[in-house]
Amino acid sequence: MNLLSEIAAHYNYWITIFLMCAGIYTVVAKSNMIKTLIGLGLFQTSVYLLYLSPGKILGGTPPILGPDHGHGDVLYSNPLPHVLILTAIVVGVATLALGLALVVRINEAFGTIEEDEVVAIVDREDHAE
Amino acid sequence: MIGGLSGAELIWLALALPMIGALGIAATGRARNLREAVTLITAGATFCVVVLTLLPMVLAGERPATTPIEAFGGIELAFTIEPLGMLFGTVASTLWIVNSIYSIGYMRGNREPRQTPFYVCFAVAISGALGIAFAGNLFTLFLFYEVLTISTYPLVTHKANDDAKASGRIYLILLMATSMTLLLPAIIWTQVAAGTVDFVAGGILAGAGLSTGALGLMLALYIFGIGKAAVMPVHFWLPAAMVAPTPVSALLHAVAVVKAGVFTVVKVIVYIFGVDYLATSGAAEWLTWMAGFTVLCASAIALCQDNLKKRLAFSTISQLSYVVLAAAILSPLSMIGAAMHIAAHAVSKITLFFAAGSIYTAAHLTEISQLNGIGRRMPWTMGAFTIGALSMIGLPPTAGFLSKWFMLGGAWQAENFVAMVVITLSTALNAMYFLPIIYRAFWLPPPADDREFPAHGEGPLPVVLALTITAFGTIALFFWPEIPFSLSTLMMEAP
């Protein structure tokens, strides 16, 4: 029973972990660059959950202060993770944009966005050197 | 006028002069006469500082030293002149002058390319040698040891053709590798064990409480780490370096490099391990065998060489191991012998190389089998060669006799019969590979047809001049051995 409640208490962590693993898997396994980037996105997004979940307080409300100005007995969820994740999201999208830009250029330069094909071309050029 | 300077200033001056000279040479590279004038002047000035000024001070019992400069973590850059270093410094700076005179004749006579870099590197190498000689601790010594290695590398590859590059590679990699992989750890081990790397009379490791095995291991690291001493099996850079022009060979064999090697060995044994400590610990016995083996083996190989310079090279290897052997005997007399042999071998071996070079310049002969009757065409050269050879064998009236005498005495004193057998045996071998050359040169008739061997006279004047000087030096050291003798005895007395 105790174990069961433990599991229940950690369920969302595990989903998070699953999502992260999926993200990493996509990044490492997939050769298509756009898919790699989306995998990165998944990975980062799941990290957000890792931050937000512990910040949630059951029975709490969003950290937008009511009339009690936070001194009353109203429970507010922890605002700090939210701030961090806001920043993280922004960083994530910035990275994504840059990555996509690079993919576009690579596609123009090599005519493909499959990483292993590109790498093959690169190796050939290295040996041509 | 430089008498007024203090010891420390003189040391800095001695180290700086060749460097300044190098700059001057590089600057005057276009005008060769000027350039060579600069070389000679620098050499002369260095000689004045080292021999005429510092030597008397040391003989008078002074120990000139610079105030140490802390480099890092208690490791200091320090110079102290003790007798042994003075001896080496004297040899180097004296022979530099002779060698410069010789080089001028040789380089011009053979129309060698890229002479300016040659003289520059040469000057830097001398500075390195002096740095080694005057080093006050292992770190400083190591520093200049590498300076010497690097500055001589371009000299070895001077010809810049393929086999020059190949042997240059062997030279650099062997010397650097041994010093980096063996010598450096040994030094740091010393630092960790003894807490210092300064050269102290009587050694610094006595208190470190290392086991005999560890001591032996450390000694091995030092001996083989000092690749310049060319103890087998780290000797083969020396024959390889034979591709270099003769003045360079002279530099390697007589003036700086190998001397730096054996000098370092002796210095480490005397001032780091401490003779008595090493003797009592008995960690150096294997060294006697190793050195003895090298002496005999190298002599035997020399016997089979037809190329004159190669034969001389192997003779050098065996002669170096004399010094190591003498040092390994660990008796006061043998130590003196070792020190004196550094000087003796220097003058006699440089004579031999000068002669070989002179033959090459005049007659373009390199093989011993071609030397029939050459003594009649080049009496001065071959005369000097004979003197050098006698000294190598160890016959009076030459310098080699004295040092060998001391070594034997030391071996007797220490009842080290291995050493005695080795010395006598190798003397026989030396005779076997030197006397035939002399015999050929003077008593065999020169080859008949002059188409193959066009008539030629002596080598260029500077060459002959140089080799005559060194030949006289070889004899002079027999009759007036005071300077090296007193220096080496000073070395053995605890200050």
């Binding site: 990165l40 | 300076v147 992989t181």
Partner: protein
């Protein structure tokens, strides 16, 4: 020390250290004219060392500086915390940035299209800003933010290389770098969840009181892996060689000098100051593992470097192996070793920067990047190649050069730990360095000039001068080591104390 209107700007040095490059970048982006942007870059990047040196002086004199951003006292606000360790690194990074900036203009003009130069300098300054921010900040999440600032800027800088392979290199770096950064965030997240604080010093105070250590261990692991990706610890180095090989010369010199070093600093900070040695290396398996990785890192990439045909890539592999030395110094866990590690960060930074600057000169005046083509360069560009040789000797660790000092400390550190096999590894990898440097030296000095190497384009003065300044610095720090070894020694002491027991006040 200018006091204007009662404001003591010296108090605000920590903020200025990061704000100035940012504003400079903004200015460059507004101007967008190559020449003017360069002047701005030059001014800013030379102001940086001044800031850093002033702070270093302050720290050495009066101890740690703590600067509260927005006057919110930590841990509520973000704190900037400067002590010996990161003040030293700030000096290093900013000086290298300044020198490279002075070296840059013609080389950039050579490799970057005119209308892009303004923005190029913007990126350069942002990279600098990010690195400085990472180094100076005392807040775990702030490190991440500035890590991303610098990383993004670097991806762009690399992507601007002329060769199309530069794009691929940038992309791979982007993917790996992002994974690394995200791992770091995960680690911080775990620690944050357990401690509830993001302020490094605060975390260090709280950690010892936590009874359930598992999340913290996991957090440590994630931070470790993430930073190892960033600092290209073998075998996580795969992004580095191409990135260095194809980026514009000036950018490569800058990255090689600074990027990995800062990542290493962050790792050191977490291992020593925050988690503390006892905790970080608590389990008996940790130290051997790290040492093993370090040794592999010192040997394998060196071997690979020996067989490279592209000189830039060869140097890149050698960088990977040098990272091994630094990690080794960290993992030795004694003062001497750590001093060696930090000192090697400094020395290797100037050495490798000098090498890449020299290569940059070669590329500028001949366009050569392959080693065979470098034949005879010793005769056609003697000064540049001489500087190259000096730096190469330092890389090998010849006494009298900067490289020797740190190597000495590392060997001594290993010896003090009685780990003689490490000594062997160190000397062997130095041997390998002899091989790959010697190869180039031989080609450059003892071969007839190839037609590619003949009559090179005349080199701009500033490129020569900066390259030689670096070479001179290498020789100078080989013997005169108050800065390059003295400060690291202090820093090492301070770090070994850790923060948990109230050290670093």
């Amino acid at each position: 020390m200018s006091v204007e209107g009662g404001i003591n700007w010296v108090e605000h040095l920590p903020a200025l250290q990061v704000a100035m490059p940012m504003l400079g970048a903004v200015a460059c982006a507004l101007v967008r004219n190559g020449g003017i942007s360069w002047l701005i870059t030059l001014a800013v990047s030379w102001a940086m060392p001044v800031c850093a040196l002033l702070m270093l002086h302050e720290v050495v004199a009066h101890g740690t500086i703590s600067y509260a951003m927005g006057s919110w006292a930590p841990p509520v606000g973000i704190e900037y915390r400067v002590d010996e360790a990161n003040a030293f690194l700030l000096v290093l990074v900013s000086i290298i940035a300044a020198l490279v900036a002075s070296y840059m203009p013609r080389s950039v003009a050579d490799e970057i299209a005119p209308e892009r130069r303004g923005w190029f300098y913007t990126m350069y300054l942002m990279a600098l800003c990010g690195l400085l921010g990472m180094t100076i900040t005392g807040d775990a999440f702030n490190i991440f933010v500035f890590m991303e600032v610098s990383s993004l800027a670097m991806y762009v800088l690399i992507g601007l290389g002329r060769d199309r392979r530069a794009l691929v290199a940038a992309f791979q770096y982007l993917v790996i770098g992002t994974i690394g950064a995200t791992f770091y965030v995960v680690g911080v997240g775990l620690v944050f969840t357990m401690t509830g604080s993001l302020n490094l010093y605060d975390i260090a105070q709280i950690l010892p009181e936590i009874e359930n250590q598992r999340p913290v261990y996991a957090g440590l692991a994630f931070i470790g892996v993430g930073m190892s990706l960033k600092l290209a610890l073998f075998p996580l180095h795969l992004w580095l060689p191409n990135a260095y090989a194809f980026a514009p010369s000036a950018a490569t010199a800058f990255l090689a000098g600074t990027a990995t070093k800062v990542a290493i600093y962050v790792l050191i900070r977490f291992l020593y100051s925050i988690f503390g040695v006892e905790f970080a290396f608590g389990s008996p398996a940790t130290q051997p593992t790290v040492l093993l990785l370090a040794c592999l890192g010192m040997l394998v990439p060196s071997v690979v470097a020996v067989f490279q045909v592209n000189v830039k890539r060869m140097l890149a592999y050698s960088s990977v192996s040098q990272v091994g030395y630094m990690i080794l110094g960290i993992a030795l866990l004694n003062a001497t070793g750590l001093t060696g590690g930090i000192a090697h960060m400094f020395n290797h930074a100037i050495i490798k920067c000098c090498l890449f600057l020299a290569v940059g000169c070669v590329v500028y005046s001949t366009g050569i990047q392959r080693i065979e083509q470098m034949a005879g360069l010793g005769r056609t560009m003697p000064l540049t190649m001489a500087a190259f040789v000096i730096a190469g000797l330092a890389l090998i660790g010849v006494p009298g050069t900067a490289g020797f000092v740190s190597k000495w400390y590392l060997i001594q550190g290993a010896a003090e730990q009685g780990m003689w096999w490490l000594v062997v590894v160190i000397v062997v990898s130095s041997m390998l360095a002899i091989f790959y440097i010697g190869r180039i030296v031989e080609v450059a000095w003892f071969r007839e000039p190839s037609d590619a190497a003949d009559n090179p384009r005349s080199l701009p003065f500033e490129m020569q001068m900066i390259t030689w300044t670096m070479a001179a610095a290498i020789l100078y720090f080989g013997l005169q080591t108050e800065i390059s070894a003295g400060v690291p020694a202090r820093a090492a002491e301070m770090l070994l104390q850790g923060w948990a027991i109230g050290g670093g006040q």
